[in-house]
Amino acid sequence: MNNMIVFPLILPIMTAILLVFFRHNIILQRIVSIITMAVVTIISAVIVWAVPVHGILRLDFSGWQPPYGILFVADSFAALLVFTASLVTTIILLYATCTIGEKRERNFFYTFVLLMIAGVNGSFLTGDIFNLFVCFEVMLLASYVLITLGGERVQLRESIKYVLINVVASWLFLVALAYLYSTLGTLNMAHIALRVTEAGQGPLLTTVSLVFLAVFALKAGLLLFQWLPGSYSAPPPAVAALFAALLTKVGIYALFRTYTLMFTHDALPYRLIGIMAMLTIIAGCLGALSGRDVRTIAVYNVLIGVGFILLGLAIGTEVAFQGAIYYVLHDIIAKAFLFLCIGTMIYLTGETVIDQMSGLIRNYPVFGWLFFIVMCALAGIPPLSGFIGKVLIAQAAVAEGDFLLIAVGLASSIIVLYSLLRIFLSAFFGETIIPLGEEMPLPKTVIWPIIMLALLTIALGVGAQAIANYVVHAAEVLANPTQYIDAVLPEALKKGM
């Protein structure tokens, strides 16, 4: 049972290496990569099911008992994220097969997508903070290649900035690790948590935790997001959807792990995260309102999502964690959905500015109503998936008296609705400028992945009760870190404290 949790990392890596040898057989590459991701999705579904039944799963590599070796730990939070990320990647790969273009496919597109998802899944599952750094780098190196693949002018110009800012962020990560290791003498996350409790979280440890906050805020796009709008609108739609759905979520996951497991004894970081989240939401709203390019509007919506999820961390109660978990799962699906819709609009019209598009709903009725669904989902209209997360976070905020946080959070829903409604009214309604019958045909392979994401967002909204068990379990572990520590560390070590 425990060996299972290495598959979400190892299967994509092995397939990725295998595909390098079949560079010119594109059909094979498509089929194998999609099947691999489907298998990973099924395995991660089993992991999600197994965690509440068998307790938190742990895998010690080469039999080194914690805290000495590197280990993988799957609690419900990590398992749910791995499952959703793998599922969404499978669907985006389906979309990519017909939109990404043969030139990119021949240049190892699928290999790098698989390597990136391996890094993402590894980051979610690892229980060792240096291993988290390594998984981050695997993910980032693959993303550097994906963002530059194709070598267009704008792409290269934006990606060099993306790469350099991430190199500097990784440097900060190393510095934080150096200080952490010299203070606590361990890299196992559960052991770090134990030693922080043991020694008390003094000013030095809080400072170290703030360096981590800076690192992960850069990766998640929390306040330090200035690199994000440019670099997420440069690559082709399938890649942009992958980035928007997954990369910021890894940063968010790392923030949750750091501040619910390791550095829980000082209120300062939570207050800082709350302020940073509010500023991120406000900046995202301003960007989404001012943009005329559909990609700009979509990218700033990513920032609003990031801010909203981290409101849950800033509030810091169990209900807030439940809301944040629902919302992060929703956000992975809905952001992939939004970016695929935006990408399809650009593909169909050849335009990126909303004023240049009009009346698409008469040319493509199904696609038009799909955009309507994603708009409602992102705004949080029931019964779609965004609603339940927003309600839970709002409940927790009211119970804790954090009225300012939640006022900003809920006000942003209206801005999200307005910014997407602007696209909807301008691009889909209005006079049809493309004569009926002369529009660009919409291939079935393009529309089906989008329909699948629409069904997912409806399923997550309507079937919220079905996954409630797992979400409650995940939030319980986040709120009581001792459960995580008990599952990871052997008894003898804890008696010694």
């Binding site: 780098e137 190196l141 267009e152 060099i160 350099l164 500097v168 690790l177 150096a178 010299s182």
Partner: protein
């Protein structure tokens, strides 16, 4: 020895910061390379410089030197080597396609 190392790290970081803040792409990349060297030295120094024997249990009674920082640095060096190689190629391609290596000229507007 530790103090000396920390002074050296400080010098490396200040040189790297100066380079990273420049406008020329190649200088920025060299800056990030130096920055990563500073981080590696920092891990080595903070992990404790060599105090004891090689950690082979049967060869020596101890005390042993902590081998972990060196393992960490080895990993970090490999990563920074790969990233630097990639960024150099990327910088060359960006220069060849956009015709400039000056970051102010590479700014670009999102709505264009």
């Amino acid at each position: 020895m530790e103090t000396l190392m920390l002074v050296l790290i400080g010098i490396l970081v200040s040189v790297a910061t100066y380079l990273v803040l420049s406008r020329q792409m190649l200088k920025v990349i060299l800056g990030t390379a130096i920055l990563s060297h500073a981080a590696h030295l920092l891990i080595l120094t903070l992990g404790g410089l060599k105090k004891g024997d090689v950690p082979l249990i049967e060869e020596s009674p101890g005390p042993y030197t902590d081998a972990l920082p060196q393992a960490l640095i080895l990993t970090a060096i490999v990563i920074s080597f790969a990233v630097t190689a990639f960024v150099l190629v990327l910088a060359y391609r960006t220069y060849a396609t956009n015709g400039t290596d000056d970051f102010t000229a590479l700014r670009g507007k999102l709505d264009e």
